[in-house]
């Protein structure tokens, strides 16, 4: 179908993405389960972390043997980085590992909440953008910070729905809506989704995409949940584009009164 409303690609920094569901690759039982869940999710962007190679176990497998970089956009993250220096170092290492200039930038501010250190985030983003990176920043649901990230050259912003891995769903829909209205780069809701309705809601609000990991990997059946999320994101996107009815306090009859006996 030429005007299939699900087929409007998401464009970030000139790159076209087919899927509006992006997924992380952590916390799965094994690489095979990871592969199957990604397949079921329909995602074409997958996030990965960069870590020391296990040099003692020569048989340890490589994630990229299961996720074909030709088929998926590999988005390295700086998860676990608590300082600007570390986030910049990990970003450079990720680029050196040869995937691309894309980085999902995280500068974490606190171990319990894993909330972003937004001051550090902005500083790290500036450094990396100057080095030619395409910086997709994991940020708080703060419209002012989102605006600043856009102003310094981030081609998308990734505000959280709730703390990473919490499954609490969208805690501040109004802030997210304000972000969507005020920035003119794609908004990708990242982190905190618990189940399909959370993802659908994010898309109904007008998010350009949703990124999740734990909600899928931590489900009893990750592959089935990946599929559920795919439908949810599609349903939410369609509902957003279709335009919902306004909320009213009282009933409006759907059947005509005319012609009644």
């Amino acid at each position: 179908m030429s005007n299939d409303p699900l087929h409007d690609p998401l464009i970030i920094a000139g790159r076209e993405f087919r899927s509006r569901l992006w997924v992380g690759t952590g916390k799965y039982k094994n690489f095979e389960e990871t592969r199957q869940a990604i397949e079921a999710s329909g995602a074409d962007v997958v996030t990965v972390a960069i870590r020391r190679v296990n040099i003692t176990d020569k048989n340890s497998e490589n994630l990229l043997d299961y996720i074909d970089p030709k088929k998926y956009t590999i988005l390295p993250n700086t998860a676990g980085c608590y300082t600007v220096e570390d986030a910049v170092r990990y970003s450079r290492l990720a680029r050196a590992a040869g995937v691309s200039d894309l980085v999902k930038l995280e500068v974490i501010g606190d171990e319990r909440t894993l909330f972003p250190d937004t001051a550090g985030l902005i500083e790290a983003a500036k450094i990396l953008i100057a080095e030619g990176f395409i910086v997709l920043p994991y940020t708080n649901d703060d419209p002012i910070v989102a605006q600043k990230l856009m102003d310094i050259g981030c081609p998308a912003v990734m505000p959280l729905a709730a703390p990473i891995g919490s499954g609490l769903g969208i805690r501040n829909p109004y802030n997210l809506k304000i972000i969507m209205e005020t920035v003119n780069v794609p908004v990708i809701v990242d982190a905190g989704v618990g189940t399909a309705s959370d993802a659908a809601l994010a898309m109904e609000y007008g998010a350009d995409a949703v990124l999740m990991n734990t909600a899928i990997a931590g489900a009893k059946d990750p592959i089935m949940m990946a599929s559920a999320m795919r439908y949810a994101v599609d349903a939410g996107r369609l509902a957003f584009k279709a335009g919902r009815i306004p909320r009213k306090l009282y009933a409006t009859a759907s059947s005509p009164i005319e012609g009644m006996l």
């Binding site: 992380g24 690759t25 990871t34 990965v48 020569k58 490589n62 990229l64």
Partner: protein, 80 residues
């Protein structure tokens, strides 16, 4: 020659380039990033850079990740 690879001390009896080291460790060069003494190398440097006594080598690659499961940096440094 003693070098430190991913935090572990290693003894090598022959001169090694980074490419040689990766070969010894049975690692495919196209999937790793290498840092020597905090300097990130271009892949084209792998065959030419000779490792020296005491060099600290870090070899990294991509693993599953979406959100941090544990804190990676040791001895937390605050952002200043």
């Amino acid at each position: 020659m003693k070098i430190i690879v991913n935090g572990e001390e290693q003894e090598h009896n022959i001169p090694l380039t980074v490419a040689n080291l990766l070969q010894v460790l049975d690692l495919r060069t196209e999937k790793v990033a290498v840092e020597v003494n905090l300097k990130i190398l271009d892949r084209s440097d792998f065959p030419t850079l000779n490792l020296q006594e005491g060099d600290k080598v870090e070899i990294l690659s991509f693993i599953g990740g979406g959100s941090p499961q544990r804190r990676h940096v040791r001895g937390r440094k605050r952002y200043e």
